[in-house]
Amino acid sequence: MIKKSFKVHGVYVHVPFCKRKCLYCDFFSCASDNTELMLQYADAVCCQIEQTQAEVTDYATIYFGGGTPSILPVDGLIRIVEKLKQCGFWQMPKEATIECNPGTVDLDKLQVYRQLGFDRISFGVQSFNNNELQIIGRIHNADDALTAVALAKAVGFKRINVDLIYGLPLQNLNSFQYSLQQFCSLNLSHLSLYSLILEDGTSLKTMVDNGQIKMPDENLTADMDDWVQKFLLQHGYKRYEISNYAKTGEESKHNLVYWNYLPYIGFGAGATGFDGWTRYKGVENIGQYIQSPLAVEKEHLTCDNIYSEFMFMNLRKVDGVRLKEYKERYGEDIIDKTLTKINTCIEDGLVEYDDKKDVLRLTERGMSLGDLVFSKFV
């Protein structure tokens, strides 16, 4: 492989605070309403931004994720955004997104977000059924979600995403269809639709293991999956990644940086960055991060790691991947080895390769059974 350096295409800022931790969440975040701590944290992020050297494209995307970025005091948020702009990380972003919990926004906050330059907002709605929201520990209800979306529209957000989850405890096909219908009636630009994954170490996992909560059965979630693909297409949402749907031209440009396996930079406790060769991650501890915001844990990727990640990230997109792209970036021709690895997957109809266009992509069946293909690359 030829070692060359890449420019940063996306900037991620992690806000690891939440009002309350949801039962299924395994992201790094802490339940806190300590304004003082949050402001200290914001200063630490500024410090990290200031001291970080990187070659950034002028159109690099911006993404504030969490945790709950909308819980951050507006002062803190302003300081971070100003610092990003001052240091050249925020120039003319193709997209600037902020994640919000529907239970933590109001008109004033949303107006500030717009003024700061955020043009896209993402709400963690998860469901429009209150019993489902309650059992997974969300702090908001369905009405909050509707209100939040209305406010976002009112302050001028044109690009609004909603996250929904299927395979929730208590959920059935009807209630899931209801959530999707509610979503469609809002006429938003983007939907992230995840099936619930029981992650180790989460409260939900413990409760399921102890029999306190019952998860819906495998067949039900597969039925939901089958139904929703047709439904969304009928309503003008095109699937462009395994779990993401958008109206034409409304795809998340920031998340595409990840799926295109392009370099990105991460600021904040527990935030991950990637320069094309090495992945680094800030400490997952708010106190320690405030003390030394520059401390990162590095993971040097081997050539095999890079190849497998390049493949399974790129293949998540409906458009698939050009195999020559790898040679352009890393100098190695992978066409033959890739086709050898996946010949059985091609036979099984999970993946298809158009050699004229040089496009390898998952079939519709492969989109449901992606891990069978991805595992060929590790």
Partner: protein
């Protein structure tokens, strides 16, 4: 030391009644090892033995004890494997002694294994000293145990020694009882060498070390000796004792216990139970009781990766150096490729070998379900022993089939007698008799097919009696039986390694249970997999493993990539443990499914 000051003894006990702890305490008390050198249960030297709390190989430790009479005595303690699989080894170890400590848990009383071992000891004319252990426990009832010993075994228990191996209480009394009650050996040092091999151990430098008890004569380095059963002749290179570390000595004399090495390459050349004599001046008659250990339980062992076949063979050969009762020969399975059919003394022996292959030789193996050896009588008059269920012949050519039966002793609290009898009946047991040990406990005798014991008899016995039942058995011989072969088909293809020989009457039920079990064990795959059981061409049961509908990680963003990659790597690692059979990936447990059908 004079023979009058030598005591050769063994300890017999049911599992968990405290044999190893008592042995540790005796060694500690005689100062054979300093406190610093002591580590818990030093005699069980294999990791596996420690973990399972069992003894697999016999050990022999010499210690010197200064008794209350002021004299010093040489105590040779021969530790025996306690498990029924190793009954023959136990009997040889006992044959090397003059006395045995019968250790019984003061809270539990006599168990089936205690009895079996006591009978072995009585067969060998040993002086038996009852030792009631764990008297420190609040629920200890030594008087009740004494009464049981007298009534059930029929030996005087009035002088039974009470002790707690855990606290050390009464240990000196145990040592005194050994000196006082165990008769000294009475062989002649001046006649030709006559020694019993009661165990052996392979050492990479010395070759096979034979553990011996000298009855007559002397053995020293430089002597030419002959193994009377195998006829092999060797030059003795080294003679020594265990304290319990190896100490070389100039000679071993009549009545003593120790080891010798003679550049013997494999344990096959010098088997347990054989008699060692002077090659130039042999004794006229070997010691009684030699027999070759015969494997009772067989299974197929296959490497998951075919490339590991040679490593598996090397590992089996190495284990065989130390274990004459392990037999194996190459076999081929359509489903599993090249492997070995291995014979074992019993299930524990099989488990131990399997675990050692995995642990010590790092082999990733598939084991087929264990089976017994069937004796098939053909219509044309031929007789054949079938060790592999796949090779069970077509019913048309069979005149009749015989299978091994055991005499089983079961001890249970009286409330469980009904269920145990029902279970034994279901398992084709033939009732023999029943005795009350006391007002609460009952001893049952049944004749049972060994195949049923291997299958799930013991597990079900344990669970239906909440663990109170104890079981012991010995092979009684072959009996006429009515068996059929049940084949398993996956995706319409017969999988030879999954077939099973079952009794005709239960074939339908077992076939059904087996496909249900397989359906739950086989992970969903891309396509639906029919699982069928068949007798001949007739399908008797079918279940389908539904096709996998969804297998993809929903979320994957910048922070998840490494984790996701590691997850995929882990899944791949897990897949490596699966065996591809035709188009189906089978987990290793599938090949043992027949053993776990009723769980």
């Amino acid at each position: 030391m004079e023979q009058s000051h030598i005591r050769n003894f063994s300890i017999i006990a049911h599992i968990d009644h405290g044999k190893s702890t008592l042995a540790d305490r005796l060694i500690e008390m005689t100062g054979t090892l300093s406190k610093r050198e002591m580590q818990e249960q030093i005699l069980d030297s294999m990791d596996l033995e420690k973990e399972r709390g069992i003894t697999i190989k016999a050990q022999a430790v010499r210690s010197i004890y200064k008794a209350r009479d002021g004299e010093e005595y040489m105590l040779n303690f021969i530790d025996t494997p306690g498990h029924v699989d190793f009954n023959y080894e136990v009997s040889r170890a006992l044959a090397a002694c003059e006395g045995a400590l019968l250790v019984i848990d003061a809270t539990q009383g006599i168990e089936a294994q205690t009895l079996a071992n006591v009978y072995l000891a009585l067969d060998n004319d040993l002086e038996i000293i009852p030792v009631i252990n764990k008297i420190d426990l609040p629920s200890a009832d030594p008087e009740k145990v004494k009464k049981e010993i007298e009534e059930v075994i029929g030996i005087d228990a009035s002088d039974a020694v009470l002790c707690s191996a855990k606290t050390g209480e009464g240990i000196e009394d145990v040592l005194e009882a050994i000196v006082k009650c165990v008769p000294p050996p009475k062989g002649s040092e001046n006649t030709s060498l006559k020694a019993l091999v009661f165990d052996s151990k392979f050492d990479a430098y010395k070759g096979v070390m034979l553990y011996i008890r000298l009855f007559d004569g002397v053995i020293r380095p430089g002597m030419k000796i002959r193994m009377m059963a195998t006829g092999a002749v060797f030059d003795v290179t080294e003679v020594g004792v265990f304290k319990p570390n190896i100490i070389n000595v100039n000679e071993l004399r009549a009545g003593q216990v120790g080891f010798f090495a003679a550049s013997i390459k494999t344990v096959k050349e010098a088997r347990v139970g054989d008699t060692v004599t002077d090659a130039e001046n042999p004794t006229d008659k070997p010691l009684a009781g030699y027999r070759k250990a015969t494997p009772m339980v067989f299974c197929g062992l296959y490497p998951v990766e075919n490339a590991e076949y040679d490593n598996l063979r090397d590992a089996l050969e190495k284990l065989q150096l130390n274990d004459a009762s392990l037999v194996f020969e190459p076999e081929t399975s359509v489903a599993l490729g090249f492997g070995f059919r291995c014979g074992f003394l019993g299930l524990l022996h099989m488990d131990v070998i399997k675990e050692r292959l995995g642990r010590e030789y790092n082999l990733n193996l598939i084991t087929t379900a264990p089976n017994v050896v069937y004796e098939v009588f053909y219509t044309n008059g031929d007789v054949n022993l079938i060790e592999n269920p796949c090779l069970f012949p077509d019913p048309n050519v069979i005149d009749h089939v015989e299978e091994p039966f055991v005499n089983a002793t079961i001890i249970v609290p009286k409330d469980y007698v009904g269920p145990v009898m029902e279970l034994s009946q279901e398992k084709r047991g033939i009732y023999d008799n029943m005795t009350y040990l006391d007002e609460n406990r009952v001893m049952l005798h049944y004749s049972l097919p060994l195949a049923e014991i291997i299958y799930d008899y013991f597990d079900r016995l344990k669970s239906m009696t909440k663990g109170y039942a104890s079981l012991d058995y010995e092979l009684s011989g072959y009996k006429d039986t009515n068996l059929v072969k049940v084949d398993i088909l996956l995706n319409g293809e017969q999988v030879d390694a999954l077939c099973a020989i079952v009794h005709k009457e239960s074939a339908q039920r077992r076939g059904r249970a087996l496909v249900e079990r397989l359906r739950s064990l086989i992970p969903r795959q891309q396509f639906q997999i029919p699982v069928q059981a068949a007798i001949g061409s007739k399908i008797i049961a079918r279940e389908d493993v539904a096709a996998l509908r969804k297998d993809v990680l929903a979320k994957c963003y910048g922070g998840d990539i490494s984790r996701k990659r590691k997850l995929l790597e882990k899944q791949k690692e897990g897949k490596k443990r699966m065996k591809q059979v035709g188009t189906v990936e089978l987990p290793q447990e599938a090949f043992m499914a027949i053993l776990q059908m009723d769980k």
